[in-house]
Amino acid sequence: MNLKELYQEIILEHGKNPRNLRKTEGFNKDAKGNNPLCGDNVHVYLKLNGQKIVEDASFQGSGCAISMASASIMTDLIKGKNEHEAKEIVEDFLGMIKENPELKSKYLNEDEKTKLMCLSGVKQYPMRVKCATLSWHTMVSAFDEKTEEVKTEN
């Protein structure tokens, strides 16, 4: 185990100053998620334009550095993607967090991949995987217009 791998500079920075920590004005999709074990919660807002492309993404909530950084990076890189692309990225990210050594999606550029790989350190901390994935599951729920809260059990 390596704490330095988990708490990389970029995670600490995003955790401290999360991007898009607000509520998108005129959002048209949203969903809530919570982590009953930790008491962490997140509310994801998406604004899709006429072409179904994410024009803006934001979130509100509180949580640990990992969950805040994850939501921050996610909302940043999802902008400009359509639903299909976004969901493929989510799949890719969840696969990487759980087992895959790298990200494969063609919808991610190198810079985005590098940022997301900073979260790969949680792999070694099974109890913390859900911190990294909560906002991602919640975003999928927003796309799917699910009304019940997302609860990550892992």
Binding site: Y7, C38, G39, S62, I66
Partner: protein
């Protein structure tokens, strides 16, 4: 009292936890187990096993005697008047559910009020909530003061003519506040109100005397008391346990079963339906022997010293904020660090072998009141030393460094 010697009785401290010596500061969650308890479980299963109270063969009779021995030991340890006032359950949670359920069946009426406190663990709130749903009883909350305490005055203020029952923790698993249970009970009884005590955190750390406390029910969690998991104790005054209906139905709790009628067994069998946690009950006798061998006064003295030391240490550590500052405080140090989420604290401390808990510790009402989503909690047991708390403080400093505080 030699703590190093006591620590040696716990095999877990011989283990390296991820290459570190274990600094176990999570005893409020569950305590570690002395070797005599672990060995007793093994011995029972390898040499003496049989189900209890069913068959007449040699092993069954011997096991039944061992099982009943523990009941007597518990009775003596908590100074209950009668052996039949001791009921084994699967945990304190089940003990509290048993009380709420049976009082709900036959005593509490629609519109009655139950008074609990903002300090309560979910297991001393949710069972009453069930009655709020099913019987329309009302739940009132006594509020904490600035120090994270519940005072007798606050309880008195929240009692109304409709209050039928007060259910309170003996010792808060978050602020560490020790409640004036004896005084609250006196007050309650003078008004005909029943008192239930969640003794999970009290039982392992305080002197227990049921006849002196005089509460009507007291719930104990054995796994926090240097005993096995899957076991709890409900103390209940005999008149209540005799009067109340059974909780679960099945084998062992009956007297006579016919197609058209059933009569129930006597205490304590009435509340022990089905095959019980036999090995755990038998091993729990060793937990009590362990505590008796040290002496509860010594336990209390040692843990009070530790809390005082830890409190001073953390108070001096800037950016650490302790939760609650009760005058009468048990071995719990809950805290937050401005700018670091409790889960990050716990993960970073874990790297040094320091085991604490992060979250709401099953006390969401309290955390809402304090306006924090979670907290970090270090809690002590008989095996902890001042060095453990020094290590806690050092690891907290490391955590601050990682977060550039």
């Amino acid at each position: 009292m030699n703590i190093d010697q006591i620590k040696k009785e716990f095999p877990i401290f011989d283990e390296k936890i991820q290459n570190n010596d274990l600094v176990y500061l999570d005893s409020a969650n569950s305590s570690q187990k002395p070797k005599i308890v672990v060995d007793r479980i093994n011995e029972f299963y390898t040499k003496q096993f049989s189900n209890v109270g069913r068959s007449v063969h040699y092993l069954a009779v011997a096991a039944t005697n061992l099982y009943e021995n523990t009941r007597s030991s518990v009775q003596k340890y908590i100074n209950a008047k009668d052996k039949n006032e001791i009921v084994f359950t699967k945990g304190a949670t089940e003990a509290l559910n048993l009380v709420a359920n049976t009082l709900g069946q036959s005593y509490l009426q629609e519109g009655d009020e139950v008074l609990i406190t903002e300090l309560e663990h979910h297991s001393n709130y949710v069972p009453w909530h069930f009655l709020r749903k099913s019987k329309n009883i009302k739940i009132n909350f006594a509020e904490i003061n600035e120090e994270g305490e519940i005072t007798l005055e606050e309880i008195e203020k929240k009692i109304t003519p409709k209050t039928k029952l007060i259910s309170i923790t003996h010792l808060s698993n978050v602020t560490g506040a020790i409640l004036p249970v004896k005084e609250i009970t006196q007050l309650a009884h003078s008004k005909g109100i029943i008192v239930v005590v969640d003794g999970c955190q009290g039982a392992p750390h305080l002197k227990l005397d049921m006849q002196e406390l005089d509460c009507d029910f007291y719930a104990i969690s054995c796994h926090k008391m240097y005993g096995p998991t899957g076991l709890g104790v409900l103390y209940g005054k005999k008149k209540w346990l005799e009067e109340l209906p059974p909780y679960q139905g099945g084998g062992g709790m009956i007297n006579e079963v016919k197609k058209d009628r059933i009569s129930y067994g006597e205490l304590p069998n009435k509340y022990e339906a089905g095959t019980m946690a036999t090995a755990q009950v038998i091993a729990f006798d060793q937990s009590i022997k362990f505590l008796e061998s040290i002496g509860i006064e010594n336990v209390m003295k040692h843990e009070a010293d530790l809390v005082e030391y830890g409190q001073e240490l953390l108070q001096k550590n800037n950016s650490v904020k302790l939760i609650g500052n009760p005058k009468n405080k048990g071995g719990v140090l809950s805290f937050t660090i401005e700018g670091v989420h409790p889960h990050d604290i716990a993960t970073i401390l874990d790297e040094d072998g320091v085991a604490i808990r992060a979250g709401h510790h099953c006390c969401q009402i309290l955390h809402d009141k304090l306006n924090i989503p979670a907290s970090a909690r270090a809690s002590v047991g008989i095996y902890n030393t001042k060095e453990d708390l020094d290590q806690l403080n050092e690891s907290i400093n490391n955590c601050k460094k990682i977060f550039n505080l």
